[in-house]
Amino acid sequence: MKLIVEGLTVKIESREVLRDVSFRVERGEIVSLLGPNGSGKSTMLRTIFGILKPLRGVILFDGKSMNSISETSKVIGYLPQENPEIGLRVLDVVLLGRTPHLSGIKRAKREDVEIALKALKDVGLDGFENRRFNELSGGEKQKVMIARVFAQNPRVMLLDEPTAHLDISAQIEVLEIVRRRVRDDCSALIAMHDINLATSFSDKILMIKNGRIAYAGTPDDVVTEETIRDVYGVEVIVKRHGSRVYIVPKKTVSRNGVRVHVICGGGTGRDLIYMLNERGYTVSAGVLNALDSDWEAVVEIGGEVVSEAPFTEIGYEAHSKNLEIIERVDFVILTNLSIGRGNLKNLYAAKYASELGKLIVIEKTPFECRNFAGNDAERIYKEIVRRAVVVGSERDAIRILDRERYINN
């Protein structure tokens, strides 16, 4: 069945919970509703089913609007979010799904029992009919409730967070069950919290923010770093896996207030920059040629970087800016970089830092092997080393920083 929602506005106690919402669910489609708590997902499902009356807007099922819940429930299966705590037998629970199809004094006929048993089989709970509902596991309960929806013979399913409180295998199982059913002329609109499950199980995603549809489209169109930041207010990294997208949260660290400047280049500072950032140090670097891999690392973590155009010698302006930063920061680290004519000024900068007594030198290979700037450079380096702490690895450098920080605090 095709569901069309047009200009839907819902007010609950003078607050507009949904504002001018329009979308459609095509036949055989799974559409996920994503959005933070309180964004209006549940309200949307309850309004479409007819529990809440909209202030404005049209809801059409295959072009027709419904007048009452008893009429709606004949073709629409709605599953509320919270599961009941009851001691009814599983079969009695599933049989309740036949309610819309019974008339007069409601009693289950043999046909209804058969439909209920078939629904239980479809969700993989064959033989569970005489178990008591409240003795089942969370995943089994959820599957019984979905069997109840199936027993209604729905042509659109409205499911409110069917995977909440379930472990990962039950989450996948439940959504697989729903997807199997959706193939035969039945569509589904599912409110979800887990963005990764939504992207892997739905054809379309609607992202709701403050009662409006902020973004709509296929999962890889809708789920981006910008949309997640906008709707949920968190920083994530969106990754692709084949045709699918998934998100991982960006690691947020609390800044420890210690500023470290890294003199590096040619990839010698990358690891160090990431490590310092993860430990909460405020990192800057320079002078670096733009697009150098160290340069990219500093830019990625949002640190300050003194740059020079690619493949050009460090100019006077960049150098003096570098010295300014060195004066400002608490520590300077000179990495195991190669020195040539182009970046010789960085060695002078390091010398300046050593004179200020805040330099740590990482020396993995002897300087002679990476010096391409002649004897002058050799002499300067020796002077530097005399006034600096020399370590053999990034880890040791950080250990020294951590210890210094500890002592100062």
Binding site: L88, R89, V93
Partner: protein, 315 residues
């Protein structure tokens, strides 16, 4: 089995008492062959008393069962809408005014019970709760407390009639007559049938308002009807017998343990067990001592230990 239990308890109810009547005499009384005194005892005293006890037992038990489904709470009973305290006020007023006939007490208690239930429903309906049943529950507790306070004051004022009010509140089937039976019977038949025929819907509301609506039930309308019927049924039962506690809890729970929670089987067995249980308790009440104990006290004494058992068992 429950039907056999019913027949047995009926026979015991008719035969046992301060004047013991043999089974054969009972039969003779029915077909008009016994002496006048036995006939009087059996037909005009014990038979109405038996029928009354059966009707009250099944009415309270069925109402209790419906209320437990309505509130989704094992502790709910028929009096949760303030009916018992409302009825007490009604009875106390009539006794205080010195116009206490069976008929007057009955009508006054019945009316005040119904008024109280309506009041509770109205308050619960105004209150802004997503789950309306909680609002009604809380309103019921509040109004009940108020009415109980009012009853206490009335009892205090009553002075020498105090004994009569207190005895009425404790509940009993003494002074049975056909007026009571004729009053209660039609209401009981109607109310109990309504609840029985709505077993399916009771299962649905047991799942919660949201789930009941999800299967297409007009929950608000059904809840309104159910409350109206239970109020009527309970008020009528209380009006003829006083406040008999715990029947509405013990009987449905016992049956739940035996037949399970599905109302299609739970309701009929509750009706039958209720109508078998009440006459037996009544027999105990009138034979345990030389005088007559209030039935309400006996059920409470049976009910409380049972309740503790349920608690220990984890409900």
């Amino acid at each position: 089995m429950l039907i056999i239990l019913n027949v047995l308890s009926a026979l015991i109810g008719l035969s046992v008492g301060s004047a013991s009547v043999g089974l054969l005499d009972i039969l003779n009384a029915f077909i008009g062959k016994s002496d006048e005194i036995t006939k009087q005892i059996v037909l005009n005293y014990r038979l109405p008393r038996l029928i009354l006890a059966m009707l009250v037992g099944s009415s309270l038990a069925t109402s209790g069962c419906a209320m437990q489904a309505f509130f989704r709470n094992p502790l709910a009973d028929p009096y949760i809408l303030g009916i018992s305290s409302g009825a007490s006020v009604g009875a106390a007023i009539v006794i205080l005014l010195g116009i206490a006939t069976t008929y007057n007490i009955m009508i006054s208690a019945f009316s005040l019970a119904l008024i109280t239930a309506i009041l509770v429903y109205k308050i619960g309906n105004i209150a802004r709760f997503r789950e309306q049943s909680y609002a009604i529950l809380l309103a019921g507790i509040a109004v009940s407390c108020f009415m109980t306070g009012l009853t206490s004051i009335l009892i205090y004022i009553a002075g020498r009639d105090m004994h009569q009010v207190v005895f009425w509140i404790m509940g009993s089937f003494s002074n049975p007559n056909w007026v009571d039976v004729n009053f209660l019977a039609p209401i009981a038949v109607f109310g109990i049938s309504y609840i029985f025929l709505n077993s399916w819907n009771l299962n649905a509301i047991l799942m919660g308002d949201e789930h009941a609506m999800a299967v297409g039930l007009d929950v608000r309308r059904f809840q309104k009807q159910l409350l109206a019927v239970v109020s009527l049924l309970t008020s009528a039962a209380v009006a003829v017998s006083g406040v008999i506690g715990f029947v509405g809890i013990i009987i449905p729970h016992t049956m739940r343990l035996i037949v399970g929670e599905a109302h299609q089987t739970l309701i009929p067995s509750t009706i039958l067990f209720g109508s078998a249980f009440m006459p037996l308790v009544d027999v105990i009440a009138r034979t345990a001592t030389a005088g007559e104990l209030p039935v309400g006290a006996i059920t409470a004494m049976l009910g409380a230990p049972f309740f503790i058992y349920l608690l220990l068992r984890g409900l």
